[in-house]
Symmetry: C2
């Protein structure tokens, strides 16, 4: 089964304050680390870089395709999807800002799709109590056992992912689009270490984890 | 208005692997740091220690009361509540495992209760996409803007908190009991730094933050 990976690095890093994907973790950029892990389990990799940067000074490793991102995350995934060959049967989408995801985690979501799911996402339990709010007032405490916080990499049947992106919908993750299209998405155990680098403290945490 | 704080340190640290409340952050135990911050904004503090430890070798600072915890978190809060004088008008409950909460955060929840709420909790937005699951299958993506992850300190009108604990109910936080009793709980902005120490990595993160 042919597997392609789309690594999305098109964010401007507004909350981070700069282009976080080019920060270093153990001598390697955040982006290179994410691409390297994706390449371990995929037959091809497309990297989606910010379309608004005047100069993109990142040199892709040999054999890695580059696409330019759009306005939203979903637009950027679609830019990457345009580079994925029709022969690809599974597409795995990964946020470059999650450089600590392991190759085993890629394998786990891929295996779940190979086993018959339309999509598979890593999920971790939410440690904090979660409440539903209306304005600033709590309307309910949400039963925690019903909720998972999901990560990337997210794997999908290629035809299902392409169909879900038709009409250029937007969502915070690809699974939401596949769900909206009626696809069956399963959750595999995520990794606590697989944090998303959003603010500089997260980068420090990732560096500390990478060093151990 | 008389304010009392209950600092809950009665957990066994099962996920952590040891009694995390006695680990050091910047030369001070996790518990001492939490108690010190609580004492800055309360007229009295009750610390709830594990009831199952044969020897409790923690020496409370002068003027701090000590209660012994029960089987559940809610039982432990009730043990602390028994030490709170009847004259206390506001009770603030804090998990010792959140040593990075600031005195300003205590003030914010206290102010919200002084302004008329039955309870006030710190809440932060959830960064990850959150999904509702049935077994291992995703049933829905939860609109993120409706959800907050809540922290401690949580402040309550003393009479409301006492009433909510009648009948010895259990819940993951005190606000849930007050909500279940029909109380109006408001959310104030939480602190990203106010992490809960659950696993050893969290302690490293707290130490790194405390050092800056």
């Amino acid at each position: 089964v042919s597997v392609w990976a789309i690594v999305v690095a098109a964010g401007e890093g507004r909350r981070f304050g700069s282009a976080k994907q080019f920060e270093l973790i153990g001598g390697e950029t955040v982006l290179d680390r994410s691409v390297r892990t994706a390449a371990e389990t995929a037959d091809g990799v497309v990297v989606v870089l910010p379309g608004t940067r005047d100069v993109i000074d990142w040199e892709p490793p040999p054999g890695i395709d580059v696409a330019l991102g759009g306005e939203t995350r979903a637009d950027s995934v679609r830019s990457g999807l345009a580079f994925v060959p029709d022969a690809a049967e599974i597409v795995v989408v990964h946020d470059a800002a999650r450089p600590m995801a392991s190759a085993d985690l890629f394998r786990a979501v891929l295996d779940a799709v190979r086993a018959g799911a339309d999509g598979a996402v890593p999920g971790v339990t939410i440690r904090d109590t979660v409440k539903r709010v209306q304005g600033a007032v709590v309307s309910a405490t949400v039963p925690r056992e019903e909720l998972v916080a999901v990560q990337t990499p997210q794997a999908f049947r290629a035809d299902v992912l392409r169909a879900a992106h038709r009409g250029e919908p937007d969502a915070t993750d690809d699974a939401a689009l596949v769900e909206a299209a009626g696809g069956r998405v399963v959750v595999v155990p995520g990794e606590e270490a697989n944090i998303k680098i959003t603010v500089p403290d997260d980068l420090d945490a990732a560096r500390a984890r990478a060093a151990t």
